[in-house]
Amino acid sequence: MGLSLWLPGAPVIAALVTLFLPARAAGLSRLVAGVGFAVSLVLAVLAWAGYPGAGYAHVSSFSWFTLPNVWLGHNLTIGLSFGVDSLSLPLLTLTAVIALLAVVGRPSPEGRARVYRFWQSLFAAAILGVLAALDLFTFLVALELALFAGFFLIQQFGGPRRRHAAYKFLLYRGFATIGVLAAFLGLAYGLAGLYYQGATVASTPKLPASVGSLTFSLPTLQHDIAHAAPVFGGTRPALFLVLLLAVFIEEAFVPFHTWLPQAHEQADTATNMLMGGIMTKIGAYILLRFGVGMLPDQVHRFSLLLAVFGVINILYGAFAAWAADGWRRLIAFSSISHMGLVLLGISAMNAAGLQGAMFMMVSSGLLTALLFFISGAIEERTGTSQMGQLGGLSKPMPMLSGFLLFAALGSLGLPLTSGFVSELQAFLGAFAGHPYLSLVGALGLILSATYLLYAMQKTTFGPAAPPAAALTDARPVEYLPLVVLTALVLVVGVYPAVIGDLFGLSAHTLLGIGG
């Protein structure tokens, strides 16, 4: 039995343990949550080190119960199944790192440590679960868990308009989950139904034996659908579009995006790190895993649609970030802009584009988390993250300002940061697929420099704003997230092959299925 179960398992146990701690034991519950994520991180690194180089590894599967005669005499086994592959490994590691740093770097809210750590552990565990799930049922359970945990984190511990933001978060993402569910059922039942379409199947001689029996297992479905591609025809576009709609909401693509900036404006810093850093990458993960991985012909077919939406998001996000008054909104929209590039990269359906999209997920995760952490630290000291009320922060807090500048530069894609490697590959892919649209999308390179440097100029440059004298620079405990995230951004930027080899492998695997 592989270790994958404990990737999400460790933080779940940590969450349960926190429930039995004294309600006000802030230090203790923080420690427990931290240990949970640390275990996940160690396991993720071990899984990475022990990855055999192809397929799913470290699989742990449990069947829970069997529903008899679900459909046309088929039994359906429900259970949990976890595993890792070259696509999910870097993302799992990223998740564990960011979750751990969020726990280490940010204290619990006053007096409500236990509840907070419970939901926080559960939230990150759910995201780990989504990424490690090898079964549609497991995937959905984890997705729902992330939805509710995120809802409570915002609704209980957010800013003044937290209820509004939380309900928006819940409704939007709930809708996305329904879309995912519909697409999943369509995939599973569609493949199972092939067995009964006697005539068509007869003309496809080598249909795998598993085709026709209802299953939710991801590897089996991937295998089957590759072989059944010719016969499983008519419903594929509909399935893909449903999936795509869910991805668009999940990923906060324009015009389904308004929940994200509002959630980010209300949530606390640690939650923002988790949401911006990893949760918003799940949509792209779904698109890669189920869109590119299982319905590649449909990605080809709707390639133009994806590219157009990608470019719209790049530009819309950039312009909205330019018009943002506060750092939280700016970071949210810059993340939307990044994900637009992910979509553009995927739309090209070539190795460079997919690899660039995967890089961008990691890079945007690291940089968004770093930016939220720093803006949270600034907000904690100055009481605001509105650019108009800040200024001259380089004087009282040179280190935080320095890290903020680094994060901004990484986010605008300066070479030797992860942002550049991602943009380079995504555009290499995109220009091969949609040259003219990519040309428009490349305007985002200029716009990102514009809005980030405008914000930098207003925040850290210039004469110091009045209360500056009393401000303090980063505390020792805050250096850990700053340094680790910065180092990771640099490592990926300076020597991208560290994750490039794995992502290259998954890009080839995904494209190989497409034929």
């Binding site: 928006k168 409704l171 324009v254 015009p255 995006h257 308004t258 819309y316 312009f319 909205a320 330019w322 018009a323 943002a324 070539n350 190795a351 460079a352 690899q355 001259g392 380089s394 004087k395 040179p398 530069l409 300066l414 070479p415 030797l416 550049f420 490697v421 380079l424 590959q425 555009f427 290499l428 892919g429 220009f431 091969a432 040259p435 040309l439 490349a442 305007l443 390179l445 200029i446 716009l447 420099a449 514009t450 440097l453 405008y454 930098m456 100029q457 850290t460 440059f461 210039g462 004469p463 110091a464 020597y495 991208p496 092959a497 490039g500 080899d501 290259g504 890009a507």
Partner: protein
Amino acid sequence: MTDWVWLVPLWPLAGYVFLLLSGRRTPEAVAAGVSVVLTGVSCVLSLVVFFQLGPEPASGETWLFHWLTIGSARVDVGISLTHLNALMLVVVSLVSVLVLLFSRGYMRGDERFSVFYQYLNLFVFSMLGLVISPNLLQLYIFWEMVGLCSYLLVGFWYFKPEAALAAKKSFIVTRIGDTGLFIGMVLLFLGTGGSFDFTAIFQAVSAHTLHLGWMGSQGLTTLAALLVFLGAVGKSAQFPLHVWLPDAMEGPTPVSALIHAATMVAAGVYLVARMFPLFQASPPALTTVAWIGGVTALLAALIGLTQRDIKRVIAYSTISQLGYMMLALGIGAYTLGVFHLFTHAFFKALLFLAAGSVIHAVDTQDLFQMGGLGRKLPITRWSFLAGALALAGIFPFSGFWSKDDILTAAWQQGDTALYWLGLAAAFCTAFYIFRVYFLVFTGQSRDEERTRGAHEGSWVMTVPLVILAVLATLAGFVNTPWNGHALERYLEHDATASAAAATPVHESLPLMVFSVVVGLLGIGLAYLLYGRESAAPARLAERFSILHAVSFNKFYLDEVYYYTVVAAGKVVARFVRALDRYLIDGIIEVGARLVGVLGLALKYTQNGQVQAYGVIAAFGLVVVIVVAVLGVGGVL
């Protein structure tokens, strides 16, 4: 010894890391000493490599390391040594050492002294890395790194709002060019079938195999060349992206000397030179390069005529001289462009450092607050004079050799329009630089308060001035008819240059004399107007007030850009914000409200009377039955 070339950029990197780790409390002497010594080692190594590099016409030796595999294309980083690169190493490291030394005096007492040296070290490393890149990607990486250093150093005095604005502007404007370079790079990668290597690109260009599905070889060559040139336009501050460089003068003066005169801004010229086979394959691209260069040379010279800020005058002269280099490359005179880059690095660094010395002494940049400083700052005065003569192109100073060759080449190739453009710019150049000279060093002080205590800086400031003055005077002799154009022959060993050498320049005495006379005329006019106390400049400005205003306000290009590009961007951003808030989110909010209102209305049916529910249920059943019978055709 050429095997050791990979060490050259590493010394400044070591300096950067050292200063990064030692923190901002590092004593000034340690920070400066370590930086100067380490960069000095690089400089010595560069010189050794330069002189030991053999005459093989191959594209030099290349060392490569695996960086990333994109799709199936392997991307490497490494080091490539060509004769052009070796020359650039010498120029960069030599000027860097002198500027680092000078800064010890100029920046004395600044509370972020060691941070300043940290940034400078990073810059030197990036610039050295840039000039030895074996492929376009690595060049682009360092290209952006030097841009970053420029941003950091222009904004070094971050608390000054002008410095903050200038830093932002310099980064964003060059970023526009960089995006062009980025796209050009991507297209070349795709066009060559997956390589950033210069050699692979040149092979594809010469074999006409550069192609994409939607564009043929010739079209793609021109497009890529123009996009690459856009990058050079941004970095080398060519029209129409030159607006950032004068503002960048907000940075400390040593930075202006090193980054915004001698090295980084010349990177655009270097890029075009490095990619020369690509440009050669596309006549339209070459013509564009030449004309942009010519126009920039004259435009910047015209603006330089009337500026009041000593550093801005020199900045416009930099733009103008970079225009000359582009002009040279554009008419195919590859080696001459590089030669001018070489001499310009010395005399322009000299002019900036001398200006820095003046600013250090009087603490103002306004020319009309200076005057009569020649007696108080003798070393600065004579070295500035050497630089000014070199810039004005007076025999036998270095600028004469390189600039005159370019004009001669333009004349001899029949590009007479470009020749006259260049000549007009040369006249203006001679005028404005001597206007500065006369205003600063001769006559009477116009502001006794400021100039009373003026004195030379310590040896760390004067020694670099003297060395650069010597170089500015003599550097031109590396490429004269008497030594058979040694530098040209050196550069022609490169495969990239050998093709360009097909059209050698024949020195022509009449042309030489003519251009020197034009330069002297400019100097004479400057003397007439500014050499002695006179009301003539004011009268002239009055008489031609419109022309004066146009020149003084930089042809209003800043305003034009602000009210078109920037304003449009802001309008779109505001529009998007309104769209976001009122339309997209508005629809969602209204939808949510509607659902809420519907719920409010429906709750009144929930009146607690079981009998009411029963009635509804019974009628519902009847409706179902009726529908089943009439619609479907049977209950069962």
